[in-house]
């Protein structure tokens, strides 16, 4: 009985030693050399694995960063400039500062503005709905309201407003990763620079129908009248396919177009409630304003 145990222990020990030696040499032979900076860079990254940088996750992005001769073209939208600064330090390179981007839902087809023409009772997904038909309102371009963007956001920055039936972006939480923009089958969501003091002027419409048709479907539609284009002193506005677009890199936030728009399709976001407030007002206001989302005219 005793000898059986001893023999078993001895055999297992010998097998263990032999296998260990074999494994040691195999490990030496097939060793993968990995740049240790990858671990260091990964530690700097936020670890959200959102894919906003275009890589398959933070580890993948770290590998790209280390491999890249110049990191200027790579950017982590979630971590922003701070993280890129840290990464640059690890890699001994210069970080290129980029403006903070924010997702903007370019549709103002609220239940009131855009009446329903039929009821959709299928699977609650924008992707499915868009594949089936033109939607439950007269507008073929507007928000479908099933919340694919909400589901896509890993930071809880988008929520559906039950009153308007439209998604709303929380500027503070939004990291500008672009996951929502990719999820929207109507390409309504655009990443725009958050702008000075987080203020933006945006055309909240994507309807490319002719004016009368667009207006019939939605009261707040851009009718492509080009009045905004004429009034803009900075040539920031282009009108194509009956639709105005404001270039956020050129726009100086003069808000002339906002008052000119006959349908109210152009919105100023995060501006103080009272227009034309002099220097004193904005100094106090911004803190309170950050949470106010879309302040319409």
């Amino acid at each position: 009985m005793d000898s059986t145990i001893l023999v078993t222990v001895a055999i297992l020990t010998i097998v263990g030693i032999v296998v260990a030696v074999v494994l040691y040499f195999v490990a030496q032979k097939f060793k993968v050399e990995e740049d240790e900076r990858i671990d260091l860079v990964e530690a700097c990254l936020p670890g959200a694995n959102c894919g906003g940088c275009g890589s398959a996750g933070c580890r993948d992005f770290a590998q790209r960063l280390v491999a890249a001769p110049e990191i200027g073209s790579l950017f982590c939208p979630v971590g922003g400039n701070d993280v890129m600064q840290k990464v640059a330090k690890v890699l001994g390179q210069e970080a290129v500062a980029q403006k903070k981007m924010v997702a903007v839902v370019r549709c103002n087809g609220t239940c009131e503005n855009r009446p329903k023409t039929n009821d959709y009772d299928g699977y609650a997904s924008c992707k499915v709905k868009a594949a089936l038909y033109s939607g439950d309102t007269g507008c073929r371009f507007g928000c479908l309201g099933c919340g694919d963007c909400v589901a896509a956001c890993k930071f809880g920055a988008i929520s559906m407003n039950p009153d308007t039936g439209l998604p709303e972006v929380d500027d503070e939480k939004c990291t500008g990763c672009g996951a929502c923009a990719a999820a929207c089958p109507r390409t309504l969501i655009e990443l725009r620079t958050s702008g000075p003091k987080n203020r933006r002027v945006v055309v909240l419409c994507r309807n490319m129908e002719k004016g009368a048709v667009a207006r019939k479907a939605c009261k707040a539609a851009c009718i492509g009248c080009a009045k905004c284009q004429k009034v803009c002193p900075f040539e920031a506005i282009t009108v194509e396919n009956n639709l105005a677009y404001i270039d956020f890199n050129v726009c100086k936030l003069c808000t002339k177009c906002v008052s000119e728009c006959p349908t109210g399709a152009i919105h100023k976001i995060n501006f103080p409630e009272k227009p034309a407030a002099p220097a004193a007002a904005p100094a106090a206001a911004p803190q309170a304003e950050v949470k106010a989302k879309e302040v319409t005219v």
């Binding site: 023409t117 299928g122 997904s125 499915v128 594949a131 089936l132 038909y133 033109s134 439950d136």
Partner: protein, 444 residues
């Protein structure tokens, strides 16, 4: 009695309109004829505003290999050539015509006499079928001349004339078989001639005994054409299922029926071929069922293509109070109509009205792994798995491996699911995406 081997379901047949004879519906004051009535590229409009047209005159020409001719269904003046919303609300080019009288192209034989002698040659017939704008009228609207002209080296051994009409409610093919049996048989004989004299079966489900009797009688003088009675099971009218039922052959995954030596054409297509070859009449009208429990007057109309659906419904007594959903086609594969001003097309077999109760969707619950969907799938797929992979996102390769592109969108899985999971809704979208992926790969 024969049927296909795997899957299938037995929805209640509800053939409410089967005793209503085909009634020609007078053209409305204005028709809007879609240029996208066939699978493939939309036709190019060949008329302009102000042009006078006759019924049967070409108004749209094909824009590619898989495309088709479109003809005016009425006589009158072209009021506009513009994009209009189809039943799904998508903008498609339409030719709008103000109807004036009912004058047909003089070359069309409008008599009731049956022309039996097939004098045209194979090439003449093929050209004529193309020029007459004939497409598969079962619903898929695949151009008929492409199907009847198999690629070099492929030989059709069987021509299956599809009169299964397995969709509940729809009775248009049933009525056509009862009222115009000989036309259908001559159409089949013409197509058999084009295919080089193959064996022809007219396949009808057992729930249409009158149609079977009528067709059998009409087949008497035509050797090589035979009526087959099929067991009642949905989706027997599916091309691949019908081939399986009749010949016990399987169409390979991703291939066309010709790989199994078969060509399948709907009975309405067969009748359209007869009219085109023997009567010189292009395809500009079709039989359409208007039905539903909530409708008191259920009818089978012979409608001109381009007639607004609202006008067709008006002719059947208008919108009943309790109608909640309008469907173009049958309840299994038909599409919900978002726009009743859309017009009838070559593939519109039925206008179905359902009540609130009939269309109610139960809330979705969790998959209980019962495997009913896999049992019901006539293509032998695993719908639960496709659904799971589709919802996970980014699993295109896995979906492709599991043959999502073989899905025929028959809806058996969703019909049978006890957890009310919208399986087909999810699968359909991802199938389209996988197809896109495959096509983009083929381009490279």
């Amino acid at each position: 009695m024969i049927t296909f081997k795997i899957g299938g379901v037995h929805p209640h047949e509800n053939k409410l309109a089967k005793e209503s004879a085909i009634t020609p519906l007078a053209p409305p004051a204005k028709v809007a004829i879609s240029m996208a009535q066939h699978l493939g590229a939309p036709a190019v409009p060949k008329v302009a505003k102000g042009d006078k047209v006759l019924a049967g005159q070409v108004i749209g020409e094909p824009a590619g290999f898989i495309s088709g001719f479109v003809h005016s269904s009425v006589s009158g003046t072209v009021a506009a050539v513009e994009p209009r919303a189809d039943i799904a609300g998508n903008m498609v080019p339409h030719v709008v015509i103000d109807v004036e009288g009912d004058e047909w192209d003089p070359s069309i034989d409008r008599s009731e006499a049956i022309v039996r002698d097939i004098t045209a040659t194979r090439e003449e017939i093929l050209a004529k079928i193309k020029e007459a704008g004939i497409v598969g009228m079962g619903g898929a609207t695949f151009p008929a001349h492409v199907k009847l002209n198999p690629p070099e080296g492929k030989k059709a051994e069987f021509l299956l004339i599809n009169g299964a009409e397995c969709e509940p409610y729809v009775t248009s093919d049933d009525r056509l078989m009862r009222e115009k049996p000989e036309g259908i048989v001559i159409g089949a004989a013409i197509m058999a001639k084009v295919l080089g004299g193959c064996k022809c079966f007219i396949c009808i489900e057992e729930n249409k005994p009158e149609a079977i009797a009528a067709m059998q009688k009409a087949c008497a003088g035509y050797p090589g054409i035979e009526v087959l009675t099929l067991k009642k099971k949905y989706p027997q009218g599916g091309e691949k299922q019908l081939i399986d039922a009749v010949t016990h052959r399987q169409v390979p995954s991703g291939a066309l029926p010709i790989e199994a030596g078969c060509v399948v054409q709907n009975v309405a297509t067969s009748y359209a071929v007869y009219e085109a070859i023997q009567k010189n009449k292009p395809l500009f009208e079709r039989v359409m069922t208007v039905t539903g429990q909530c409708l008191s007057d259920r009818r089978n109309f012979l409608v001109r293509l381009g007639t607004p659906l609202s006008y067709v419904l008006e002719a059947a007594g208008g919108v009943p109070e309790d109608a909640a959903k309008f469907i173009s086609g049958g309840p299994m594969m038909g599409k919900a109509i978002a726009n009743m001003e859309a017009t009838t097309q070559k593939g519109s077999s039925c206008l179905l009205l359902l009540t609130e109760e009939q269309t109610r969707r139960e809330p979705e619950s969790n998959c209980i792994r019962c495997g009913k969907c896999a049992d019901a799938c006539p293509m032998g797929l695993e719908p639960w798995l496709l659904n799971k992979l589709s919802r996970a996102g980014g699993q295109m390769e896995a979906l492709e491996e599991n043959k999502i592109f073989d899905c025929i969108e028959c809806g058996c899985c969703m019909y049978t699911c006890p957890a009310h999971i919208p399986l087909l809704d999810v699968i359909r979208v991802n199938k389209a995406e996988v197809m896109k992926l495959i096509r983009s790969r083929a381009k490279k």
